[in-house]
Symmetry: C2
């Protein structure tokens, strides 16, 4: 069988990881695929830039048009990141009949529907295992291994930077700024950390996971996104007392009313498998009607884990195996606005240290049908903190209760509100 | 495209799970595969036996020869269990050109090499995702998603019965017999529990996992197998003090000297991801050179989780995707005897409560080059317990040290020896 001829778009950390794997394990990969993998061209911005791996200079080019026009290229591996010009490059590559492998979550979240449909029209492979969870094979699991399941829930820790920050804050009692600076020093967070810290990176990945899990394309503009900036060590300490661990969770649920998709700081019971996922590790927890609970755990980022996933996609194309259709959405399901969802909540309030205050607040909750699961009242002082955890409540009822509580004279401030998943 | 026509061998819990999934999700599966799945025949022992699901009587047969001779059967799904007659049925089915899906770990551990080679000769699919870890897609992960990795280690909690028993013993301080009886009452353990409790079930599964992970067929007779019968609540309590959790681990390592494969009770550090896997849950932890650490977690048994995996295999055949070669062994690697391995050990000894006893034992360890990681000496009495945890030591040195210690006059008895993986 003739070699599979590859062009890499981009030679950053992931690109050089892919190059290294194909160079180092080439013989074994060829035996397993029944054909050799051959990197023919590599698109870079600057031919002269020093690179982490030694690459023969004849492979490098700055001219994409030469790659797309080359009939000897079978597969385009896009590891350059960003939306432009990657979207345009992939569009023209598909139209030129080339198979696609990409690790680009933002591109998929924003242009996935169009690109996947185009790939199906042109009957080319379009794989994107590396776009979510680095080396964790969750896309293939959802598309192939869980094909006999109706998936009802996907919950993921899919941003390593924020998981590292939250783990540090919980174990050392530090503030977000301190933990973020440490993450930046260690290279786990970028100089501008907003895509991670504000939840957008997780939202892109959730859009991909949810669309595949439920067979219905999610709409990015309807995904609720809340980052971790308002998390404080005090809240982590109260959560600990209540039996909860705080994680930035990306949650998608297929409910009878529609699909919920949201990213926010979330208290989960300590005994939940996701609670034990620390540091930069990622994990995706899935519930299916046949398989029950599943969880996939591993390194969600990094050059080699991500390159491992990219190479498995390349091998699927070399063997012409893996799910054939690029787009796996069979349905068009309704996607719920956040206001139509139900949640459990943790609320921390500063109140006057007077008799009857707890009763006033509890009454306000009750009037809006908000039922309480637990309360912490301890210490004295002015103001004194009160912490509540509710049972499941509609967004509308909860908002009404909180409006009423904010207006009470005994209430100084509502200090924090954090969602809760599952019973502790 | 014409329907994929299926014969089920066996209609126990897994068989009826498969039947239910194909009946319930048939329309969606057909859309995803591009063809319908059709169950044409079901081999049973007794036509009149009442079944958990309602099955049209014309599908049932007691005659395998009729199934194998039927040119209208494309796939044989073996969910009957046991080695005979399943091995013979699969052999003749492959020779008749039929694709195979099986959930039968014992059959694969004992006849896998022959059957997989035969399938490759006959160019038929042979899938067995359900044979390890129930609904957890670990076989596909190893064969396809980790194809670009050199896997160095696989460690699994792959027997739900013993994990349930060990979880109960640890959380309630009960003895093995009590926890086993409870497992039997709940249907988690069979009336004759020896295949689970003595480690054979885990050994069959380890043989499958290790062979795929390292690309080299393991030899069942060289797998070290030790069950959980000697585990006591006292050892669990000492382990807890030392920061360890006890699990029945199936461990396979690819070392420069050869492959190690062993099943035994194992203390692992509490912070290891496997330590949090409780009750009947299974998990498989993998280390690869590119991907780093990965873990797959889920229900390792049960009718529907196992049927979920069987159906994903059927779908791979319907789409003609999934790894094409049945046998993925490219190499013939040396498999180490247990005597040639290194381990860490937990040792509990009853000794005379005299001055100088600890020094005598520590000296004996030292003479055999056994270096100690931690020691617990607490309480008084006659005898008094001493607990040691060693660093890594060769089997030969360790045996020599223990022989010398057993011969000391101050030593009443060596009460228990349990292996340890990883630093606490």
């Amino acid at each position: 069988m003739k070699p599979l001829r590859i062009a890499l778009l981009g030679m950053g950390t992931v690109g050089s990881g892919v190059y290294q794997i194909i160079t180092k394990h080439g013989r074994e990969l060829a035996q397993r695929a029944g054909r050799t993998l051959e990197i023919r061209q590599i698109l870079v911005r600057d031919l002269a830039k020093p690179r982490p791996v030694d690459i023969p200079s004849h492979l490098l080019t700055t001219d994409f048009s030469q790659i797309v026009a080359d009939p000897d290229i079978d597969v385009i591996v896009e590891v350059m990141g960003g939306v432009a010009p990657a979207a345009e490059y992939l569009r023209s590559s598909i139209l030129a009949g080339k198979h696609i492998v990409t690790a680009n979550k933002e591109l998929l979240a924003k242009h996935g529907q169009e690109l996947l449909s185009l790939a199906d029209e042109q009957k080319v492979h379009f794989h994107f295992e590396a776009s979510v969870g680095g080396g964790i094979p969750v896309i293939k699991a959802l598309k192939e291994s869980l094909v006999a399941n109706q998936v009802s829930k996907v919950m993921g820790i899919i941003n390593g930077t924020t998981n590292y920050i939250l783990t540090k804050m919980a174990s050392e009692g530090t503030h977000l700024e301190t933990a973020l600076t440490e993450a930046q020093t260690k290279g786990y967070a970028e100089a501008d950390p907003s895509s991670d810290v504000d939840g957008y990176d997780a939202a892109y990945k959730l859009l991909i996971l949810g669309s595949i899990a439920f067979g219905s394309r999610l709409d990015l503009s309807k995904v609720y996104v809340e980052g971790i900036r308002k998390v404080t060590p005090i809240d982590l300490e109260y959560g600990h007392q209540l039996g909860y661990t705080l994680k930035l969770l990306a949650i998608a649920k297929d409910t009878p009313d529609g699909i919920e998709a949201r990213v926010h700081p979330t208290f989960i019971p300590n005994q939940h498998p996701l609670a034990a996922v620390s540091d930069v590790f990622n994990a995706i927890y899935i519930e299916g009607d046949a398989v029950g609970e599943l969880m996939f755990y591993g390194r969600g980022a990094g050059d080699m884990p991500t390159a491992s996933a990219v190479c498995s996609d390349i091998m699927d194309i070399a063997r012409d195996s893996g799910a054939k259709k690029a787009c796996s959405c069979l349905y068009t399901k309704n996607q719920l606005a956040m206001g139509s969802t139900v949640s459990r909540y943790y609320i921390r309030i500063s109140v006057l240290d007077n008799p009857g205050v707890l009763a006033q607040i509890a009454t306000a909750f009750g009037r809006s049908r908000v039922s309480l699961h637990s309360v912490i009242q301890q210490g004295r002082g002015e103001p004194v903190p009160l912490v509540f955890v509710t049972h499941e409540v509609s967004e509308a009822d909860f908002t009404q209760a909180m409006d009423e509580i904010r207006a009470l004279e005994c209430v100084f401030e509502v200090d924090n509100i954090i969602r809760v998943e599952g019973e502790a």
